[in-house]
Amino acid sequence: MTDKAMPPDSPDPLLDMADSLRQEVGPDFHDRLVESIYTDASQIASHTVTHDGERGRFYWDRTLDRLLTSRTWGFPIMGLMLMAVFWLTISGANVPSAMLADLLMDKVYNALHGAASALSLPWWLSGFVIDGMYLATAWVVSVMLPPMAIFFPLFTLLEDFGYLPRVAFNLDRLFHRAGAHGKQALSMMMGFGCNAAGVISTRIIDSPRERLIAIITNNFSICNGRWPTLILMGTIFIGATAPPALASFAAAASVVTIAVLGIILALGVSWFLSRTWLKGETSAFSLELPPYRPPQILQTLYTSVIDRTLIVLWRAVVMAAPAGAIIWLLGNITLGDASLAVHLVQLLNPIGLLFGLNGVILVAYVLAIPANEIVIPTILMLTLMVSGSDAVQAGVMIEMEDQTQVYNVLVNMGGWTLLTAINLMLFSLIHNPCSTTILTIWNETKNLRWTTVATLLPLGLGFAVTFLTATVARLFGLV
């Protein structure tokens, strides 16, 4: 910030006077000033504020706080709350998802093709627009809209009620022990919505060292774009392994496990950074627990559906349409004996399999750098295309009425196993941030090195973790 043209000790009578007065007063000026402000404030408060006796003031708040932030019950309650939210999301989203899929991918899709042939459009145009762009978009809407429309309002209700600061309070102890700033718990909460927003919210942390730690580890908070991947994988792979009565429960538990794993990773990486590259003192701070406020249900529904669900969906659609077009092109431009898509997937497949993933997933994550929202639709399209099933024209997704068929496509055509699904969930948690977040990290740090670390560290970690699970699964003959 200092101006190079003017050295800090350039003569300025005013500043010289300030310097000498500062020495006279001594180093405790700040404390003495703060003290007089406090004295004034308490004097004014004392004759403007009256309490109606002391009849159990804040009694209800305090009792609830003791329970929610208790050392014994704090974490179990947190786990239960998360479980409840995801259970409601998963069991509630099935029916509307199937209805939307039926509408968009069967009725509307056929109607569009009918219209295209009535207008006798050339095959490549209707293929590009309807089988590429439209279908990709339809996938995004039907797979992602219902869970988001349930999950976001529930999460926002918890937030409005005042539960999130209590979670932050519980986590504060752990962050402190990891050598990070307690406020990192708050920026992490923010990251559960959007990592770019989470990175900006680290501005509340005054120590640059601790702020960097918070920025680098924010990616371990699962963002809006990644919840749908986890929820879908949890539903069709993990939930399916449990007896039907417990399916939603098992699915919810798997999603919660990944979210908790994210918190553990954030703590672990913070611990590592604060002991290696970002060593230093941990600063103390006081976290204010706001009062519980009755959530405004209607307003919450409105804002979370309009502001969050639709914005995330819009981002997904905006990204999915061009991605769908690219995928259609990849599937229809042939080089030698196969399409570009097949070449690309086959090239990456050996690497993917080494990590318990596959070539399709890796291509999907490259295409999804701008937005994680399109991972699932991309995977489905590529799987259908590459499998070369006779039922499917090149580049076209067949209609899928519900999530069971998604399962069938992935297992039968894509050769997925339970390991693939679990590693996709892990990789969804642990990989590079999306391009918006990377750009935000750059804006906030203006430092190429830390932006690179924040981008590549999670990616490297993701490959390490998936390699580990894949190797363990193979050693024990599980796949």
Binding site: H30, R32, E35, T39, N224, P291, D307
Partner: protein, 276 residues
């Protein structure tokens, strides 16, 4: 200093007709304004809720401190005048150095808003006053928005807003921003302070110990000589005595008193990215 006389009475306050007649919400339209109004306050006192109520925007609000860390801007027309409203990050003080406090401080100091509305939590008045007193040292054009009156009532806390207005020397308006109560009165108070119709007599920090007090006075006089007409020489003196680098730099570069767009730098990211 009683402002009740010119304000709508209770029944009108909640009537949408009365509000609509004088208030036009402009959303993000902020061009060609007559006045700039800053919205400051401790975290989680409802600044963003006030912001939304007045501009018609839907800044995300959340029940936890640290929700707003960037500046958000919106506009409204009240009684024919165009206002630009700037929602600042919530801060407990303006004395420390985290980025959010700097954004708030720089805007109030260098952005020189015509009016600074300090939103305070009626249930935690004493703690909130610390920030109010600091802001009153920087600018005398302040309106205190005594928010969360419903919560105060629920907890059996009564705040004498008239006594508070007398002590602080600026208008104090009790509100329940979530329900829009008190917003018309708040707008009227903002208009009065903006136009100078309401002459404020801001409280200045009193209980400085003699040694500190003298040093502050001497330096203040010197600053007033160098920067004629600087409205907050005393505050600058206190910052210099504390060795605040940002203010030392501002003195050296003679930025004080100019409309330096310092606050612009910090807000490159608008919350257009959806916030969680």
């Amino acid at each position: 200093m009683n402002t009740d006389a010119v304000m709508p009475k209770a029944a009108c306050a909640t009537c949408s007709l009365a509000q609509n007649a004088r208030l036009i919400k402009l959303g993000i339209e902020t061009g060609g304004w007559d006045y700039v109004v800053a919205l400051a306050g401790n975290p989680n006192t409802g600044k963003s809720t006030v912001f939304n109520a007045v501009t018609g925007l839907r800044q995300h609000t959340g029940n936890w401190p640290g929700k707003t860390v960037t500046r958000a801007e919106g506009g409204f027309i009240y009684d024919g005048k165009r206002y630009k409203l700037v929602d600042l990050p919530g801060t407990y003080s303006l004395l420390s150095t985290s980025v959010d406090e700097e954004i708030a401080r720089d805007f109030i100091l260098f952005g020189q808003p015509h009016v600074t509305v300090v939103v305070v939590d009626a249930t935690r008045l004493e703690r909130n006053l610390n920030l109010v007193l600091q802001i009153l040292e920087i600018t005398d054009r302040v309106v205190v928005c005594l928010n969360l009156m419903d919560e105060a009532e629920r907890h059996g806390i009564k705040v004498d807003d008239r006594a508070l207005a007398r002590d602080l020397g600026v208008p104090v308006v009790p509100t329940v921003a979530r329900r829009g109560e008190g917003i018309p009165e708040l707008l009227a108070a903002i208009a009065q302070v903006a136009s100078g119709e309401y002459a404020t007599r801001p409280h200045r920090i009193r209980h400085l110990d003699p040694e500190v007090g003298q040093a502050v006075e001497r330096l203040t006089r010197e600053i007033e000589k160098t920067f004629k007409g600087l409205p907050n020489a005393r505050w600058v003196a206190m910052r210099l005595l504390e060795g605040d680098e940002r203010i030392i730099e501002a003195v050296r570069k003679h930025e004080l008193g100019e409309l330096a767009p310092a606050a612009e730098m910090a807000s490159t990211m608008q919350p257009a990215l959806e916030t969680a």
